[in-house]
Amino acid sequence: MSITLRMTKFVALLCGLVSLAALLACASDEAPAPAPAGPSAEEIAKLVSDSVNASVSKAVADAVPEGTDPREIQRMVEAAVAASAQPGVSRADVESAVTSAVQSATAGQLTAAEVQRIVDASVQALPPPQIDASAIRPLVQQAVASSVPEGVSAEQIARLVEAAVDGATAGVPTRAELATSIEDAVRGASAGQLTAADVQNIVNASLVATEAAVERAQKAAEDAATAAKEAAAAAMAPPPEPMERMLDLPPVMSGYTRTIVSEFTFEEDVKSPRPWRVGMTLDQDQSVTLAWAGTIRHVIPGRMGSSYGRTWNQWTFMSPFITGHDLQPQASLAVAYDKSADGTSYILHLDPAAVFHDGSPVTAADVKAVWEFSATPAEQAPWGGIITYVKDMVGGAAVVNGDAETAEGLVALDDHRLQVNLVRQNELFPLEMSTSWMGVHKGFEQSKTDENWAEHPIGVGPFQVTYDPETRDVDITPAPNWWRTDPPRPSITYHIRHVPDRQVQEIQFRNSEIDVGFPFGDIADIMSPGHDLNMDMLFRPAPAAGMWYFAFDQTKPPFDDINVRKAFLHGADHKTITETLWPANFVATELMNPGFPCAQPEGHYTGWAYDPDMAKEALAASSYGSADALPAMTVSVFRPVIVSQAEVIQEQLKENLGVTLNIEVRESGQAEGEEVGIYRRSGGTAIADPDPALWGITHPDAPTPAGIMHPSNADRMRELWTTARSLSLDDPGRCAAFQAIEKEWLDSYPVMPIIGEGKFGSNVGIMVQPWMRDWDHLGQNGAFYIGMPYWKVATRDRGNAEYYR
């Protein structure tokens, strides 16, 4: 700009001297000389507008990612334009500047009309306002809206827009600069003796200089656009190609069919209720602190039942598959499976690239070894965990019983193929292999030399876990030897701190000391919009199945009589009782809640409604006829809230039916007494399929209902189960078969309901600080932390309202 000014002054001085000489020689009342040839106002305006807008539009159009929130783009563009656009020269500006200069320079030697003509002519030659943020903005927005390539973050967009606008406006003289330039030239040249022609020449020279500046601005805009385009191209460059999965699989064995599962993807459309937004900055401390109320006793997959601990396992001890957002198996440690025609044998194809945290390759023999090791009695696998699946493998039961160390049904065909032969047809085997219990580690090897191996297990995955038994704290840190590129090697760490008191957890949460916690106190309270922590509770309803209930022992009188059971169900207001004692939960009405695969189409079974009259009729219709004839009945409970529930039921049955129900309150771990006829039980599933959802509660041979189902009901249920299990997953009648099982069970009045799974029972509500971004959780299938490698921590600031937008 200083060169421009100097040039302008030089030209103006030259013209001034020439004009002065002419003025002395000629009459002073000559008409003003016409303006020199140059770009017209329209041409300059078009030049500037086209160059600037085209450059900016092009750069921005290349840079904006797909799916960006329009409001976010709006803010981004406004911020960029406001930050970049310089004040330009408007007609009014120049008019004012020239008038002022001429008036000060001519000292009254020109008539007012002459000065006016000069100024008008000058102004006509100037472009319209050269930089106008309000004009640029819609162009940028249009460009953004019309072209939105993927892969560019909001910050990158902002930077690119800013660079483009900066480039387009660089070098354009500002109002103050041009006014100063003209005034200096006029004053320097005239010394109070200019004619109208002199003034016109001076102004023309200034316009020439302005034109030069505009040309440079155009060039700068083009350069900026090129740079922005290159930057956009670099930013949009796809991440390095995921390691090419070597799907050079051996030929399919005779009698098998192959399924290549899809790769695990962190889907954008369901990614996060708290996405990363433009303007956010990463916190320097990318370690996440979580607080837990429970005892973290187990970090090893095989040692887990249904504890919270399993939630991170998909990323520390990878299972053959992982449950995706579509609730179907996706590639994890294995990339494909072959299934035999009868569904009794599978071959898992392990990813050849897979390595343990210690760098050693994961082989089929390792997977076989860790499953066998985990199922042995010495590993003390709990009910419902890995032993459920190992028992289904040929020879697995012997391992579980401690009678054998290896299961002959597990055969390592080569390094990357593990054949699993089952004792029964199992269409759900791939889904079972997606549960965290089947996670792989080197415990089978470590345990030989290190009795405390479980405190620092060697697993497979992007994270490794360590456990401190003295503090009960767990640390999850990026693991060495991560063998895939998606997710990339994480830069975030997790510290899971044992804080048993939930009230203390809440204090820590409010004081920003913990980033994630389970809901404190009354979940229903927090979920009400007026609660000050309401916005911090993330809740993702997940399809779920299961129920907590009081089970009648149908083999003992009086509960072998369906009418007695019916009277108990209708004789107490189970809905009100549950919803009072279990705030924010709902009473169980069926096993598969709406949204769960194969849930009853009409939803919410109503056959168990509170109806004292119906209860009385049922009791009267029973073989006992009245309450007086009923034998002693006892319900066994031990948890305080369940004791309260039993007490209210006891009271209502007494009031409505005159029935006396005894309550046995027992100690933890104490066996139920012989006289007990009602047991507290529950059941659910980690797999989104009606088979496991119903089996644990309705199959007469499952551990929970075994021995307490009425023989006639048991026979009927076995028939229904045989039918349902004979159907393949894609059989159109499969859902109806399982719905028939559920309906048959519900209509037999087998239980008094407590709470249903699927609302809060599946850990779907969680307290998350607002700076936890790209957060996602599914709340079931062990995939609670499915987005774990992708999470980011923005600057920790609870007062930042922007986080809650």
């Binding site: 005892t295 039942g305 249904s306 709990p382 009910w383 804080v499 948890r639 027992r666 771990g669 551990p703």
Partner: protein
């Protein structure tokens, strides 16, 4: 005195044996089963075969006396066994947790005496004045309010309202400021006992002839209190303080629970909740040993405090 001490130690062995036998018998014959607890009692009836396998694995299927003497044998070798639920060496856990609890308990005991004794004297000297009422009233309130109420309440005040500290949870070593609040609460619980005993002792001593004589000699009141009253009034306080300190050192479970301190008290409480016999037995061994030791120390202290007491 040495002979007395040695005899007391010898006598403590059968006492300890009886305590262990009683604890073991309660665990063996009492209600509750760690394996049933482990399997999750409400998920369904545990597979009896699975329960039996684990019972055999942990040696719980053997006769009572075999198990008991096996445990005693291990104890004599310094082996406290392994947790049934965690399968982690109990000795290792005891060492880690008791170290923490002992530090906290020791600090709390010092604070207890440093505050309790002067406050008791003050309350006695200012008997039936507002000072007396304030001291006694405050200590009553301190003891009456459960720590799981008082702990979070103090946290809310100091962390959220005054914003002068982070939530004092966990264990970062004795010199961390995190220990201030738990130590204060540990001392506050038994403070009433010390204050009231000291107050009663001082009031009783004030009426003694030798105190009157001391005053008649023209001794200053401060000198009368320090030379003639405190020493005599402290004897009953020493008795109770010994047992209180033994309790503090083995951990105050609820303080440790509220402040997430991995101490011996919380460890033992978890063992009780899970019916984890080896952990429960460790709690009994350590707790009873410390109580016996504290009693011995108190008895020995008597002789030092009161020349009329003769050991033997």
């Amino acid at each position: 005195m040495l002979k007395y001490t040695f005899r007391r130690i010898l006598f403590s062995i059968p006492v300890l044996f009886v305590i262990l036998l009683a604890t073991f018998a309660l665990g063996f014959y009492g209600p509750g089963d760690p394996l049933r607890t482990f399997y999750g009692e409400e998920l369904g009836e545990p597979d009896p075969a699975a329960i039996e396998r684990l019972r055999k694995l942990h040696g719980l299927d053997r006769p009572f006396w075999t198990q008991f003497f096996d445990y005693i044998g291990g104890l004599l070798r310094g082996d406290l066994g392994r947790s049934i639920l965690d399968r982690i060496s109990v000795g290792r856990q005891v060492k880690a947790t008791l170290t923490i609890s002992a530090q906290l308990g020791g600090a709390a005991a010092v604070l207890l005496l440093a505050l309790g004794v002067p406050l008791g004297i003050l309350a006695a000297v200012k008997q039936n004045t507002w000072v007396d009422y304030l001291v006694v009233g405050t200590t009553i309130a301190g003891q009456s309010t459960p720590v799981f109420v008082l702990g979070p309440l103090l946290m809310i005040v100091f962390v959220l309202w005054l914003d002068v500290m982070n939530t004092p949870v966990g264990w970062d070593g004795f010199w961390s400021t995190k220990v201030i609040m738990p130590v204060f609460l540990m001392a506050l619980g038994p403070m009433l006992t010390v204050v009231r005993q000291m107050r009663s002792g001082v009031l009783e001593t004030l009426g003694q002839g030798y105190v009157r004589t001391a005053r008649a000699k023209g001794l200053a009141e401060r000198r009368v209190i320090s030379r003639h009253i405190i020493k005599n009034a402290f004897t009953p306080v020493a008795t109770s303080t010994g047992l209180i300190v033994a309790g503090l050192v083995t951990g105050v479970a609820f303080v440790e629970l509220v402040f997430a301190i991995p101490g011996f008290g919380f460890y033992t409480l978890s063992g009780f909740q899970g019916r984890d016999f080896p952990v429960i037995m460790a709690g009994a061994v350590i707790g009873s040993s410390l109580t016996i030791t504290a009693n011995l120390v108190v008895d020995l202290t008597y002789a030092a405090l009161d020349p009329r007491v003769r050991l033997g």
